[in-house]
């Protein structure tokens, strides 16, 4: 989960301290996505989180992951080549820009990656296709996150 420098940082710290197991996080996210806050609070209570903190956590998760986003069509040349998912930063994937890319009839969300098999080649991974070089992608949209709560 990415860190930012605003009030939300405390919640990040709180989540770090809690070290919730993956299934618990998945379930909480499921409830948050489905706007079933009471269920999420119940689950956090089982993890010994107070109701006040639970509300803070839920509000944070909702703001970070459920606020409106915009899809902006860009040119292949506008892809930020500095923003590449490298093998060594695989775990920081959330900090790398996600694009919506189209290759023939495949339309999928993906990140720009370094092709580990061919030095210098930039590729997108789409479903079960072999890695698709950037140049062969037909259309590309940048997924812009608008966190309206921070405006």
């Amino acid at each position: 989960m990415k860190k930012n420098n605003n009030d939300n940082f405390d919640v990040e710290k709180m989540l770090d301290e809690l070290s919730l197991s993956s299934p618990v996080i998945q379930s909480i996210m499921f409830y948050v996505r489905n706007k079933a806050n009471d269920e999420a609070i119940k689950l956090l209570k089982e993890e010994n989180v107070s109701e006040k903190d639970s509300k803070k956590i839920i509000e944070y998760l909702f703001k970070e992951y459920c606020s409106p986003i915009e899809i902006v069509e860009i040119k292949i040349e506008d892809v930020d080549r500095n923003d590449i998912l490298k093998v060594e930063n695989y775990d920081k994937a959330e900090e790398v820009t996600t694009y919506l890319v189209r290759f023939g009839d495949i339309l999928q969300k993906s990140k720009l990656c370094e092709n580990p098999r061919k030095e210098g080649e930039l590729v997108f991974y789409l479903n079960d296709q072999p890695p698709v070089p950037l140049e062969k992608i037909e259309q590309i949209w940048k997924i812009v996150k608008i966190n309206k709560f921070n405006n």
Binding site: V32, Y65, I71, D105, I106, L107, Q139
Partner: protein, 153 residues
């Protein structure tokens, strides 16, 4: 169905009834922009060179032409065009890009039947089934399909 008076690509494709690996292979070539290889594959299936060229052009224009994503409101979704058991394989259903929380997927609107009395409209996001009312954002995928050029004799 293509309305071109001289060449009906859809009818020809239907007549050919190509095996799945052949179709996938041709798709692969078209996506990879290796149109010569796609034409060759059609010729190997008994299609004339001229028709192979037209078929590749048709598929390229129909499925690889530019598309547009238009953000719409949930209540603007056409709830009359729904994927169900009868039209499961239909490619004519409108496709949407839907977002629920951090998940974003392409999906048609589908009907989920709990029992004979209760039906619900849902989108499939990967392995999750999300009721239409719980979707956060939705974009309509608009295909700007160009018709195969008329080639009047």
């Amino acid at each position: 169905m293509n309305q071109n008076e001289n060449f009906d690509a859809e009818a020809l494709l239907e007549e050919l009834s190509l095996a799945s690996p052949v179709v996938n292979g041709i798709w692969y070539f078209i996506r990879e922009k290796d149109y010569a290889a796609a034409r060759k594959a059609f010729v190997e299936e008994g299609v004339s060179k001229e028709n192979a060229k037209k078929l590749v052009e048709y598929l390229r224009e129909k499925y690889c032409g530019p598309i547009e994503l238009i953000e719409i409101k949930i209540d603007e979704i056409d709830t009359t065009k729904v994927m169900n058991r009868e039209n499961y394989d239909s490619k004519d259903l409108p496709q949407y890009m839907v977002r629920s929380g951090g998940m974003m997927h392409q999906s048609p609107l589908a009907e989920y039947t709990y029992n004979k009395e209760y039906k619900e409209l849902v989108f499939y996001l990967g392995s999750q089934m999300v009721p239409i009312k719980k979707i956060d954002q939705v974009w309509k995928i608009v295909s700007k399909t160009k018709k195969v050029k008329n080639e009047k004799k």
